[in-house]
């Protein structure tokens, strides 16, 4: 029971980090970053390479997050910013192009086979026994980091000046721009932040999952389901939605191993039909 719950929490927390980036970018820029899964993938690969070169786990996390942030900024400034406000078709196509390119770049650099980063030595200790369940210590770190990210993000958006500017830009970019604030900078920053969170999720997942080109796509779909369930643009919604989905997956694999994926979709359909805006969404879907 405890084992299932923690593994559900792990899946949920990783999903949350990816989904919150997706929902943040959508909330401010009004585009869905279809290439978001690719940043998750890059985060994992960056972390693996850094860890193999330096042997430092902290540095690996940092490189995973920072590398994807830079990549996201470049992607936004040079490509995505050209298709804002226009056609959804064009936005999807630009992202689609980059999904193809990124997957092939990873295949070129790291090879097409499955890779594994291995558990860092600091966490190769006996698992903890909590209430009769087995909990590897690394899981606690993962949950802690993701929760910290959620709190920092939530408070940062609600309380700080930058957070206010971002919320204002989401609401009325023209007015914010007229008040002398560089909205291009904000867009780039928010996009980079969202990509960084996806990269962090990838880096955190690298020790416990296998790495392969195209690994980001299923994560993208699942985190999109999370944002549909939680409500597009809502951070709390992303958190609740991700945890629900994680628990559905881990308990579903006990009850209906063949229908686990189906359960997630079923849940999404129920939410979509009964509450089209998602559990915590305000916008009309």
């Amino acid at each position: 029971m405890v084992t299932q719950t923690t593994s559900g929490l792990i899946i949920g927390m990783l999903l949350f980090l990816v989904a919150v980036g997706l929902t943040l970018i959508f909330g401010v820029l009004k585009v869905i970053n279809f290439a978001h899964g690719a940043f998750y993938m890059f985060g994992a690969y960056f972390a693996m390479t850094t860890y193999q070169l330096t042997g430092s786990f902290a540095l690996a996390m940092l490189c995973g997050a920072a590398g994807t942030a830079i990549l996201g900024l470049v992607f936004e400034r040079f490509f995505m910013s050209r298709v804002y406000g226009g056609d959804v078709l064009m936005q999807l196509l630009v992202c689609y192009a980059f999904v193809l390119i990124f997957d092939d770049v990873v295949r070129m650099v790291w090879g097409p086979e499955f890779k594994s980063m291995g558990m860092p030595t600091a966490f190769q200790v006996a698992p903890l026994f909590i209430a009769g369940g087995v909990v590897p210590p690394y899981y606690l770190l993962l949950i802690g980091v993701a929760l910290a990210a959620a709190i920092v993000l939530g408070l940062g958006l609600a309380r700080t000046r930058i957070g206010k500017v971002i919320r204002a830009a989401a609401h009325n970019p023209g007015m914010v721009s007229a008040l002398g604030i560089n909205t291009g900078l904000i867009y780039g920053g928010v996009f980079a932040l969202g990509c960084m969170l996806a990269g962090l999720a990838g880096a955190l997942a690298a020790p416990v999952r296998s790495l392969t080109p195209g690994m980001g796509f299923s994560v993208l779909i699942e985190s999109f389901i999370v944002t549909v369930i939680g409500g597009m643009g809502s951070i709390l919604g992303a958190l609740i939605g991700a945890l629900l989905l994680g628990l559905i997956r881990s308990f579903g694999s006990l009850g209906f191993p063949l229908f686990t994926e189906g359960l997630m979709y079923l849940f999404m359909v129920i939410v979509l039909v009964s509450r089209p805006t998602g559990l915590f969404g305000k916008e009309v879907a």
Partner: protein, 343 residues
């Protein structure tokens, strides 16, 4: 959508000048389809090359798929990113029906269409009331559901190995689909009929209702159109043509593979539409031929097909922002305007 399509997509409602071949103008589309069909059917007489015929068969499969997607994207403004699921569904349903029951090909085909209608109506009923981006992603999510079902339901679908062992193709009415020429002619006929039917849909009053829904759904609602029903109808109709494409594909490879239902098929469909242009009826067909040619060339030269395709997509999406047929139409309109001034 509007920037791309404003004022172009609806063909000008010209009335044929009186006395000038009324028969031709009335049955123009049918005539063009017949001529194209005859030309394609004569092709095996001139070339013995199997590769050319195979290429045309693949063009029919993907052409039907891409053109049906254009009914959604171009005519109704519904950007489906999961249209490929019906392509895969058609291929798998047909393959399974033929393998398990051994009914004649036409009955298998009709049964496939029936299954597709049911699935498309169910998915469409959930999806079509969603707005642009939501619609794109929820259709994509359903596609992934179908794909993962195919992968995990190994006892029925063969999992990641695909449907193997070949699809039985008993001869009917003297048509033997295991003969390449027969298969070639059949897919050309299916393509011609499919395109004609879709052309009929696009030019019918219902087709103009769809354009109105795309341009201004509220106005359509105001004059009493049930927007939800119109969108659902075209969603199901488009799914049927996509499934027909899937049937041709499964006949061609004599099997069905999970890649047929993978999201990249939908992505390629969207790109085919962009490449050829969504503002003309034949744009997706042109796009299909170009993409398949590009595909064949690139996969021969490099294993990194994704990078090349990605760069080509970027060139079109960010650089040109229009499909090739859009340029042709513009050039033609320009020329006509010039001659009008001259005369």
């Amino acid at each position: 959508m509007t920037e791309l399509q404003a004022g172009q997509s609806s063909e000008p409602l010209t009335v044929a000048p009186a006395g000038v071949q009324p028969l031709w103008s009335r049955y123009r589309d049918v005539m063009i389809a017949l001529i194209a069909l005859v030309v394609l059917a004569m092709l095996p007489l001139f070339t013995g090359s199997k590769a050319v015929l195979d290429f045309v068969i693949r063009c029919s499969a993907f052409g039907l798929f891409a053109t049906s997607l254009n009914l959604l994207v171009g005519y109704t403004g519904m950007i489906s990113f999961g249209h490929g699921m019906f392509f895969g569904l058609g291929a798998y349903s047909f393959g399974l029906i033929m393998q398990r029951t051994g009914v004649p090909v036409p009955i298998g085909f009709v049964a496939t269409l029936a299954i597709t209608t049911g699935v498309a109506a169910f998915i469409g009923a959930i999806c079509v009331r969603l707005k642009e981006i939501y619609f794109a992603f929820v259709t994509l999510a359903f596609q992934m559901l179908i794909h993962s079902t195919i992968l995990s339901w190994v006892s029925l679908t063969g999992g990641d190995q695909g449907l193997r062992g070949g699809i039985p193709r008993p001869a009917f009415l003297g048509i033997d689909l295991s003969n390449q020429i027969h298969l070639y002619i059949t897919s050309c006929v299916l393509l011609a009929i499919g395109l004609l039917l879709m052309r009929q849909i696009a030019q019918s009053p219902f087709g103009y209702t769809l354009r109105m829904v795309r341009d201004n759904a509220n106005r359509a609602r105001f004059i009493g159109i049930n927007v939800w029903r119109a969108k659902l109808t075209i969603f199901v109709l488009a799914a049927l043509f996509a499934a027909t494409g899937g049937v041709i594909m499964s006949l061609f490879v004599s099997g069905a593979y999970p890649e047929f239902a993978y999201w990249t098929i939908s992505g390629e469909g969207i790109f085919i539409n962009m490449l050829g242009g969504v503002t003309t009826f034949l744009g997706p067909m042109v796009g299909t031929v170009l993409l398949l040619m590009l595909n064949d060339t690139v996969t021969r030269l490099t294993e990194y097909y994704g990078i090349v395709l990605g760069i080509v997509i970027l060139f079109f999406a960010i650089g040109l922002r229009k499909g090739l047929m859009d340029f042709v139409v513009e050039w033609y309109a320009q020329r006509r305007a010039n001659t009008d001034e001259g005369g």
